[in-house]
């Protein structure tokens, strides 16, 4: 389908449905949606002419029309009961919260669906859903480029639900909060999830988000999920995202995080869809001594395409960032890591490190790694390193010569390669990540 036609159809779809979307009586939210659809009218869906989307084409996304209404049912009885460490679990099905399970939550910890907040407490979320222009790319030529945000525009216009986590001042939540996004479809279907995680000063919490495509038979599924994160002074959030989809899924996740003075954001992404998936993480280090640790593991099998894009903007003085991304690809899998560090003019004393390493287990697998440093300040310490390789025959021989079978030796080396992504994970995060990969990714 022609991209112009497709764009017009989505704008039409918005006009048709805008009165049924939540928050139509709330001016700021209505405005946000209107601005977003206007922006989408200009940019359309991102294609390979957009720098952030040029590694490989998302043909399912750009060649097909997706509707927003499906009538799928879901049986939640197959979901295991939540872990003991998990204090609250929100389950979304095709973009809407269908179940919330929570122990007795500590006071001043608010966890509910976005639609609940829109209906009951819009004042709490006002100003926390970012407008689409917030993360437009500022090219080095100072041109503002909105095109990479096409999906975010669509999401901002169409979102109807998501998870909201609001932790009040100085509350330290023990255990973790889990968000599960389940999708299934019998027609070509899209859903747009908008989630918010807001930590007031000194608050602390851990969140796991799991994105799972259950089945789509011969139909295509396009799910977008945008998470706005706001970490006030001295707060700390550990966030782990796991993405597993099937061949017919296109999964686009975006995290937009603002980090204030002394706050810490630990983000770990496991992008392991069997279809097309990307995770975009944009972080603004707004306050001095703020820190972000971005770790990611891309796993690819068969003809999967998995992408991770990061952009860390050092805006305030004395801010720190560390990025460690690993990709392990077999068969004809494709993966890409585009990592960007941008140090703004006033951000002296920045320390920013980035490492991207890829392991190809098959000659037909391909990986794209693009580290980018844009440094406008003078006094900074930045490093970046990228490697692509296969398993080292010398290491394999060494292990085998001690009695370890070739298969087991390969497993050991693969696990060692990705160790850096796991090593600083909280125990419950590690357990969840390993289980997730065993369930959805076979014998990794």
């Amino acid at each position: 389908m022609n991209s112009q036609v497709l764009k017009e159809k989505y704008v039409e779809l918005y006009e048709e449905h805008k009165n049924t979307l939540p928050g139509k009586n709330i001016p700021w939210l209505e405005n946000l949606r209107e601005e977003a659809i206007d922006q989408f009218k200009q940019s359309g869906l991102p294609d390979t002419s957009v720098e952030e989307w040029n590694v490989y084409p998302y043909k399912n996304l750009t060649n097909n029309y997706f509707s927003i209404t499906g009538k799928e049912n879901i049986d939640l009885s197959e979901l295991k009961i939540k872990d003991e460490d998990c204090i609250a679990r929100l389950i979304l099905h095709n973009g809407s919260v269908v179940k919330i399970e929570a122990d007795k939550l500590p006071e001043r910890v608010l966890i509910n669906s976005l639609s609940y907040f829109i209906e009951n407490h819009p004042e709490i979320i006002e100003g926390n859903i970012n407008p689409v222009n917030k993360h437009f790319e500022t090219r080095l030529s100072n041109i503002i480029d909105p095109k990479s945000q096409g999906i975010v525009s669509l999401n901002t216009a169409f979102h109807k639900d998501g998870a909201v986590i609001y932790i009040e001042k100085n509350i330290k939540v023990s255990g973790y909060i889990e968000i599960i996004n389940l999708s299934n479809n019998k027609t070509n279907l899209m859903n747009h999830i908008r989630s918010l995680i807001i930590l007031e000063a000194g608050a602390k919490c851990k969140v796991i988000e799991k994105n799972i495509g259950l089945y789509s038979e011969d139909n295509l599924l396009f799910s977008s999920s945008v998470t706005d994160i706001n970490l006030s002074k001295d707060s700390s959030l550990s966030f782990m995202r796991l993405i597993a989809g099937n061949l017919n899924n296109t999964n686009v996740n975006c995290t937009h995080a603002d980090i204030e003075e002394n706050a810490i954001f630990n983000s770990t992404s496991f992008v392991c869809s069997k279809g097309d998936a990307r995770d975009e993480i944009r972080v603004n280090l707004n306050g001095t001594n703020s820190l972000v640790n971005l770790n990611g593991l891309l796993l690819g099998l068969e003809k999967s395409k998995n992408e991770l894009l990061t952009k860390v903007r050092h805006i305030a003085k004395s801010t720190n960032s560390n990025q460690n991304v690993r990709a392990i690809l077999n068969d004809k899998a494709r993966a890409s890591f585009q990592g960007k560090i941008r140090v703004e003019k006033k951000a002296d004393d920045t320390v920013a490190n980035m490492s991207g390493k890829s392991l190809l287990l098959n000659q037909s697998a391909r990986v794209n790694s693009k580290p980018e440093l844009e440094i406008l300040a003078d006094d900074v310490s930045c490093s970046h390193g990228v490697t692509v390789g296969s398993l080292d025959p010398e290491q394999l021989f060494y292990l085998s010569s001690r009695g370890i079978s070739n298969n087991e030796a390969k497993k050991m080396l693969i696990a060692a390669f990705s160790e850096i992504v796991f090593e600083n994970l909280d125990v419950s995060f590690k357990k969840n990540a390993q289980k997730f990969m065993a369930d959805y990714y076979g014998t990794y």
Binding site: D392, P393, E394, Q395, F397, Y398, L399, S400, S401, R402, G403, I404, S405, N406, E408, M412, L413, A415, A416, F417, E419, I420
Partner: protein, 251 residues
């Protein structure tokens, strides 16, 4: 006495170049044999072929180990049946803890031999005992395999692995290279501690010095891809006086 290793007329090519050219060698159980030879003689090739490394094409000849065809066994099967190669350049493996590696190896061997595997506690006890014998600090258990080890530590770690895996054929490929005198003594002591009537050794070296500590039963001179002279440990002394050229020319 039982024969441990019997190599007959071995011809080996690497990248279509003949490296071993009709090598024959016999080692009895409990025998410590030294192989000496000039650079490029094929010493390390012999070690690699015995351990089963890729890239070496055996064109002719046979290798029997404890009566079995060694060349038909996979690398890990060779290890499980008692072949141990102490590497000239031990390989670094970031992200794999030394103790995890050795325990996995030991238990893989035990599994193949149908023996009971060691649990974590039993293994730690064994590892501590062996580390003490080799005067090694236990810190290295949790460090990645050979990563950041000095040359001496790497060689010591090889002997440590050997003492835990307790092989029946130990091939030491220039284990003395890169060692200072003190480290050499410790390594030699470690090897000597393992000596018994079931362990055969094949010590590949350039120098007399290691042999002073190890006291081999036999010394073989390898040149141009074959054994050109065999004798007892006095041959090593003769070599020290005459050099390789003198001995090779005399034959």
């Amino acid at each position: 006495m039982a024969i441990s290793l019997e190599i007959n007329d071995l011809v080996v090519e690497v990248a279509e170049k003949t490296i071993l050219n009709g090598l024959s060698l016999k080692i009895d159980s409990g025998e410590m044999a030294a192989i000496m030879g000039p650079n490029g003689a094929g010493k390390s090739t012999l070690a690699s072929v015995l351990a089963g490394k890729d890239g070496y094409t055996v064109k002719e000849g046979s290798i029997k180990y404890l009566g079995k065809e060694l060349l038909k066994m996979s690398i890990d099967e060779r290890a499980a049946s008692g072949v141990f190669l102490a590497f000239q350049y031990p390989v670094e493996i970031p992200g794999v803890a030394t103790s995890t590696f050795i325990r996995t190896a030991l238990n893989a061997q035990k599994r193949m031999r149908g023996e009971k595997e060691l649990d974590a506690v039993e293994f730690l006890k064994l590892a501590r005992e062996k580390a003490k014998e080799l005067e090694m600090s236990e810190d290295f258990f949790t460090r990645s395999v050979n990563v950041g080890f000095s040359g001496g530590e790497k060689k010591r770690a090889e002997v440590f692995q050997m003492s835990i895996l307790s092989p029946t054929l130990a091939i030491l490929d220039e284990t003395d290279s890169g060692l200072d005198i003190d480290a050499l003594k410790v390594v030699a002591k470690g090897v000597n501690n393992l000596r018994n009537k079931n362990l055969s050794g094949l010590v590949i070296t350039h120098y007399q010095r290691l042999l002073d500590y190890l006291q081999p039963d036999t010394v073989h001179i390898l040149a141009n891809g074959k054994i050109v002279k065999t004798g007892d440990k006095s041959l090593a002394l003769l070599l020290e006086q005459k050099g390789y050229q003198g001995i090779i020319e005399a034959n």
